[in-house]
């Protein structure tokens, strides 16, 4: 019985040694792997989607290959409603190699504004959940995750209608001048048109007008829209319906009442 015992003893010692040396060296070699997350860039795609690009440079100077490298980004609003999700996957990063990958996250602005007009008018914070996972030596899965918030700048921040002016144009019609102002806090220049429909207190469309808007980012916009409406249809109060049309999004109707 001594020979089998000796054989088991040798086998267990060998496997324990191999196991511990492999795991310790795999973890130790991580100190020679460099992850360089470069400055993220924001741009617009040809489909008018917002694109975040995060270039990641991985220099694997460790002893082993890195397997299943993946970066996942989930963006949600404050209430946890998911806005977008994107993943970047590299099957193998060979040892001694430098790999550069761009992690792209796209947000469809049109869909975003269709879901909630808050994004259009109010600045807010978006929650970003970032996860980086990989397999050390293609065997040991590790994952690092973090949460941070990202500011969202509204393109029509502080949108307000000023004092409405009525100027009699002829016996039957009145020219209504509506001053509008807002600040473009978005990361893109806002170009497009604003269509306003005026309804009286009985919800009858009395007139409509359109103006072109061209607002560079982080600038204040102040203009007015002129409508010619029949004087018979004007009431003391009512509401406006506004439709925004830009290359990035179409929004409306946004209802603002007047009196």
């Amino acid at each position: 019985m001594k020979i089998p015992i000796r054989m088991i003893s040798i086998a267990t010692t060998f496997f324990w040694f191999f196991l511990i040396v492999f795991y310790v060296s795999a973890v130790y070699s991580m100190k020679d792997v460099q992850f360089d997350f470069e400055e993220p860039q924001t741009m617009l795609t040809s489909r008018n989607q917002m694109l975040f690009c995060l270039p990641i440079k991985i220099d694997n100077k460790g002893y082993y290959n890195i397997g299943s490298f993946n970066v996942t980004t989930k963006i949600s609003d404050k209430e946890g409603f998911p806005i977008t999700q994107a993943s970047t996957f590299i099957p193998v990063i060979e040892r001694g190699r430098q790999t550069t990958v761009t992690h792209n996250v796209t947000i469809n602005i049109d869909d975003l504004f269709q879901n909630s007009q808050d994004y259009l008018f109010n600045d807010m914070e978006l929650e970003v959940h970032e996860t980086v996972g990989m397999k050390l030596a293609e065997v040991i899965p590790i994952q690092a995750s973090t949460n941070f918030s990202m500011p969202w700048g509204a393109p029509l921040y502080n949108f307000t209608l000023g004092e409405i002016e009525y100027v009699i144009c002829n016996l039957t019609h009145v020219t209504v001048t509506i001053p509008i102002s807002f600040e473009n806090h978005a990361f893109f220049n806002l170009t497009g048109s604003l269509r306003m429909c005026m309804y009286n207190s009985t919800s009858v469309l009395v007139g409509e007008g359109q103006t072109r808007i061209e607002v560079p980012q982080n600038t204040f916009y102040q203009e007015h829209v002129e409508l010619t409406v029949p004087s018979m249809g004007i009431t003391e109060d009512g509401y406006f319906e506004m439709y925004f049309s830009t290359p990035f999004f179409n929004s409306g109707p946004t209802v603002i009442s007047y009196d």
Binding site: F15, V27, A144
Partner: protein, 151 residues
Amino acid sequence: MTEEKKDSKRKQQIISKLLKATIKAVIFYGIYFVLSMFLTPISEIVPSFQQTVEIFVIVYISLMIIGELTRGTVFQHFFNTAKVFFVMLYLIFSLKRGIINIPFQNISLMIDLRLFMAIAMLLSLLGLAKCMLQAINYLNEKAEEAHFSSL
């Protein structure tokens, strides 16, 4: 004269056991010392890591020394078995089912050591089987000795 010889033989046996235990402990500690240098980056991230490993090394070396000192008796097999059980239980409790979550600054780090744990458990079971075989072999030899001396 025979008593003196027996005494000196016993002394020699004790000295050899002590020497063997010391050498084994030094080698084991040496291996730990070398490996701990490689694991220094982990200790910087997880402050309790070094303490946990040190406790393991202290208990393991103590059981190893006691096992070596009781060599040639049935207690050796008890301590060897205890050593294997200690390794198994220690792995179960310290590795928390094989998935370790480490909060580091604003980042949550997760390491999946289930494969390591599975292999370590299998090796521990193999070690346990070895201890059992050794104990059976020891009792077998003792029974044989008793049988032949009675003849």
